[in-house]
Every structure is written in structure tokens, then in C-alpha cells.
Symmetry: C2
Subunit: 226 residues, 2 copies
DNA sequence: TTGACAGGTGTACGGCGTACACCCTACCGT
DNA sequence: ACGGTAGGGTGTACGCCGTACACCTGTCAA
């Protein structure tokens, strides 16, 4: 009995993927289910399967969306600066979608967008003059950090609870070194409120530690035993 | 009607955790469900909840089991050798349970076994003479590698399929640098059949890159800007 | 004897991914 | 004008998941 009404714009793979990213952005990755995504799009769950083969492919798709947000490599400057800048760009893309790292890690096979990114990254090293041999090992050494992963031990939410007064005392007794380090980190909180550590600083510290080491190996003409 | 029969030994938290580890060891992490675990133990699913609060706590428990397998720190030698050896021990524990890295990463809060491990790791640096400041940033820089994580971009199963002849050609066209690197890696396969890369070598390469950089910073009296 | 308690059971609910059969609409060549 | 085909949305159903809740049973202390 409803008049023709405005006919909703039909689904499309792209619309599905964008909605999936949006859904994960607010609500976290665990709220991205086929059923919820469908209802978000005002559609029955099975309708999605006309546009993505299954949930795995959906996840591959959202990974491609996120990776697509990484800036293209800059020009000029040396390989070191170019690599550094690109990785920081990747990191900021990952930070815009806090669930993305976890999803990328869960994939067993790289999507072609990821391959394209890796390809251009390898290119930066090679065109910077690094040998294939060194470039190969360097890619392994950088690992997922190349995609901007922080690789922290625990993403932790202690941002919400300060140190907790009593817990701190017990910590000091059982894990004195951890406690000492936590205290030291708390002092340096010239960053935001009580977040503890300056993630950006830590990331760049680690990144530069690696890049400097690589540069040293390169300059000394390092190569693996035969 | 069955006679009293031999009464099965009752469950216990430890028996549950051991069975969970065994179940994940063969069958992978996705085959570790409360229901399957229960049936493996000849018991009804809800029985498990008398020994673990919920699945999250079960996972925390299995993490503790795995972390408990890491060798205690060695004595003598310098901090660098001690750290190196301990991390390699952690790595071998993670390799014995290939699902463990993924599980540890999925936890949002460190179990106390992990904290104990971290504590002793921090201790190695501190007792080796590194400043609190440097130790702090170093712990961040090492990140999950401290637990033996490989941090490869993709664990990939290309071990089962060699390079695939046709795919390789297309790869060369679209991603020339990736292809070049893949070819280079394939040459060096002095390791096993066609696995491609020597994971152990790559891990130690990255580890030493970091440790050498850290040692250099330490010797030069590095400290963060105030 | 009683009663508390630890530990195993059975039933049930709501969520998940997705197989399969269906239907409706738009567009095609005749 | 007309039947055919195909793309895209639907409805139902299955088997899996984690787990809340009420229940039963055996053991041991008081």
C-alpha cells in the first residue's frame, strides 16, 4: 500500500565496504557482523552476499579501504626520509581506524592493495641503493611496523584508570622493576593528561632505531654470509 | 545401569587449561571452543564454568601456561647476551604453540605471568646498567618482540604452494619489486625445501639490529630530551 | 542427622555465518 | 508485445557459539 516511495539506492560492493568501515569505526571490530552491517544498510543479511563472497572477503575489503588511505610516497630526499614519512602516514591511517591492525593481522594472505603498498616500499629501499639481499632482510626486520603497527605488548586501556593507588603498592612488591618503570613513565607525562607514555615518541624512537641500524649496515656494505 | 565404574578424576583448573592447550595445539585456535573443550574432557559444557569464569579467563589461563614454558634468565654474560637468549627461548615457546601469539595479542590486559616475565626482562636491562629512561623506551621499541613475536607481515601458508608459476609472472608485471625480492629469497633457500626464508635467521637479524642499536645508545649515554 | 557446599547436568536464549530456494524487477532479442 | 534471463533483495533454516539459571548429587563437618 505504500506508494512507490523513493527507491533506496541499491547496494554495491563499495557501499557495503564503506558501511563496514563506519560500523567498525564506532563500536569496534566486534560489532562488525554481517547481520548488524545488513541492518545498518536497511537490508536483510543475505543481501550482502550478492556483493561479497563471505565475511573473510568483507574483511579483506575493509583492509583495502584502510590501506588505500595511506599517502603515496613523497619524492626527493633520501630513502630514509621517504620510508620514514610513509610509515608515519601508514601509522596515522591505522590510528584513524583503531581496529584495523587487528584485522590486518588476522588475514592469512595479503590483499593486493597491501601488496601494492609493500611493492612501493621495497622500491624506496632499492632505489635508495640498498642491495636486494639487505632489502630482503630489512623487510623482515621491519615486519608489520612497515604498515604502521605499533607492536606494543598491550594496547591496554589504563588510560581510563590512572595507576590505581592500592594496586600500585602491590605491584611494587611483586614486580619491582615494572613498578619502577611505571613510575618513571608517569613522571615524563609532559604529553596529555595521565596517559602515561607518548605513543608517537615511542613509535618514532623504535622506527629510528631500526632505520639508523639499517643505514649503518648499508653504508658498511653489509651482506649476509654468501 | 552402568556399574559405579571407575570414577573419572575430577576436573580442575589445571586439567582444563592443559586440555585447552592440547586442543589448540592440534586443530588451531579456532577449534578451541568451550563446547569442544568440554566434550574433549568428557563433560558437559557448563561444567567448565566451575573452573574458569568465562572464555576470556580461559584464554588468559592458556597464555599463562605458554609463558610459563619460557626458560628463566641465564646468569653471567652481559645484559645483551642474557636478553638475547631469553627472547630466543620465548620465541621457541611461541613456536611450539603456533596459535599463542594471536591469543596473547588478543588479550587487552597482561596476565600476571606475563607481568612477571616483563619484570625480569626489565631487570636484565636495569642490572646491565641501562638508565630507567633508556630502558623505558627500549621496552616500547622491542614491543611484542620481547615475547618472541616474529611480527612478520603475513604468517602466510605459501609453504604449501611453491611460487605458483603463472601467478609469478603476473606478480612480476604488477609488483616488480615484490617479485624481484621473492626471486632473491628463493635463491637463498639453503634451508629446508622451498620454504623461502629462514625464519630463525630473519628473527635474529632483526633482534640483533635492535640490540646493537640499543647498546650503541647506552654506550653513548643517550637520554631523551629532558 | 543435617545441612552446606563443591562440582557436574539440562535446558534455554540470543547471537553468529551462511546454504538454499524463492521472488521481483529491468532489460533483452525476437 | 512477449517470453527469457539475470541481477539483486528476501525468508527460512541449520549448526555453531558463549553462557545464564535452575537443578541434582555426593562428600564431609558439625
Amino acid at each position: 500500500m505504500t506508494p512507490p516511495a523513493e527507491k533506496r539506492t541499491p547496494l554495491s560492493r563499495e557501499r557495503v565496504l564503506r558501511a563496514a568501515v563506519a560500523l567498525a569505526d564506532d563500536g569496534g571490530i566486534e560489532s562488525l557482523s554481517m547481520r548488524r552491517l545488513a541492518s545498518e544498510l536497511g537490508v536483510v543479511p543475505m543481501a550482502l552476499y550478492k556483493h561479497v563472497a563471505n565475511k573473510d572477503e568483507l574483511l579483506d575489503g575493509v583492509v583495502d579501504v584502510v590501506v588505500g588511505e595511506i599517502d603515496p610516497p613523497g619524492t626527493g630526499a633520501g630513502w630514509k626520509a621517504a620510508v620514514r614519512q610513509r610509515i608515519l602516514s601508514a601509522r596515522s591511517a591505522l590510528q584513524r581506524h583503531s581496529w584495523a591492525a587487528q584485522v590486518i593481522e588476522s588475514r592469512s594472505t595479503p590483499t593486493s592493495a597491501v601488496l601494492a603498498y609493500l611493492n612501493s616500499m621495497i622500491g624506496l629501499f632499492r632505489e635508495g641503493g640498498l642491495s636486494i639481499d639487505l632489502t630482503h632482510h630489512v623487510m623482515h626486520a621491519m615486519g608489520s611496523r612497515i604498515l604502521g603497527f605499533s607492536q606494543e605488548l598491550f594496547t591496554a586501556a589504563p588510560a581510563v584508570e590512572p595507576p590505581a593507588p592500592a594496586a600500585m603498592a602491590q605491584l611494587a612488591g611483586t614486580f619491582p622493576y615494572v613498578a619502577e618503570l611505571a613510575r618513571a613513565a608517569a613522571h615524563t607525562e609532559d604529553s596529555v593528561v595521565g596517559a602515561g607514555c607518548d605513543d608517537q615518541f615511542e613509535f618514532e624512537f623504535a622506527l629510528d632505531l631500526l632505520l639508523d641500524g639499517i643505514e649503518r649496515l648499508h653504508r658498511s656494505g653489509w651482506m649476509s654470509a654468501q
